[in-house]
């Protein structure tokens, strides 16, 4: 049996990679891909806790299913916004779309 810490270390590293990607990438699509990586890391955590700490083993899996559903909704909306930004500016660099910056 693999210790629980192995899964947690793995998802922690995956989440940190996602944080780095969200903060450092210029292309908006890359930022969204990094967000998906972070959500996947969270799902691994949910499933690992569910398999190791929960007697019924079901709550974490249910939460991971909802994470997948929300991720699908999020990526659809976010890519629509990205396409809209591209149509208005011919660029999807997030550091150039700064009209709302104070």
């Amino acid at each position: 049996m693999i210790p629980l810490e192995n899964y947690l270390v793995l998802s922690g590293i995956l989440f940190s990679l996602g944080v780095y990607g969200v903060l450092s990438r210029r292309n908006a699509v890359l930022v969204l891909m990094s967000v998906e990586l972070m959500l996947n890391a969270v799902s691994i955590n949910f499933i690992a806790f569910s398999a190791y700490l929960d007697v019924t083993q079901i709550t974490g899996v249910i939460f991971a299913i909802f994470v997948v559903a929300v991720a699908a909704a999020e990526i659809g909306l976010a890519l629509a916004i990205v396409l809209r930004i591209f149509r208005n500016r011919s660029s999807i660099n997030i550091d150039e779309a700064a009209e709302l910056k104070w």
Binding site: L17, M33, S34, L37, A73, S90, I92
Partner: protein, 171 residues
């Protein structure tokens, strides 16, 4: 499956997932980054199988590898004149610092904590999952369907071309 086989599978999947997640960050080509991301999604679904969440592994492959990756590829194809070189913003050093700090803190905390591992007998059938989803968790389940419908309609409204901009945008 023997314990040794599971251990070997875990380390192979861990190497595959972390290497392809690093490839997403390191690759200079946007299409290559998406392909690395697909491999990372497949690795994560392998972890779900190792943790005996087989239904979720299938859902992961269908939704992430099948739908979300295609959506991302479409977004890249539909933005043809945008930059494709996967460059960084000026935030790269703070991001690197924050990422490594976050990883170090997480690693320290989760090795320091005392997890009460109660259940080492894996196994959860899709039948149990389905009946729980439609009895105890039926309200969030229905809310998720409303959320997906709202997201679909919202995405359509956002990308829809309005009448007043028909003339000025030839693209």
């Amino acid at each position: 499956m023997s314990g040794f086989g599971i251990t070997v599978a875990f380390w192979i999947l861990a190497a595959l997932t972390l290497a392809s997640a690093g490839g997403v960050m390191a690759s200079r080509n946007l299409i290559h980054a998406v392909l690395f991301l697909i491999v990372a999604f497949l690795g994560v679904s392998g972890f779900f199988i190792l943790l005996s969440a087989d239904f979720l592994a299938m859902a992961q492959i269908i939704i992430y590898v099948g739908a979300i990756s295609v959506l991302i590829l479409f977004a890249i194809v539909l933005t043809p004149r945008a930059e494709r070189d996967n460059s960084e913003t000026s935030m790269v050093l703070p991001a690197l610092l924050l990422g490594t700090t976050l990883a170090a803190v997480l690693l320290f905390v989760l090795y320091d904590a005392n997890w009460n591992v109660t259940n080492v007998e894996p196994g959860l059938s899709a039948e149990v999952l389905g009946s729980a989803l439609l009895s105890v968790w039926v309200l969030p389940f229905e809310l998720a369907s409303v959320l997906l419908t709202a997201a679909l309609v919202g995405a359509l409204m956002i990308v829809r071309r309005q009448e007043d901009e028909e003339g000025d945008s030839a693209s």
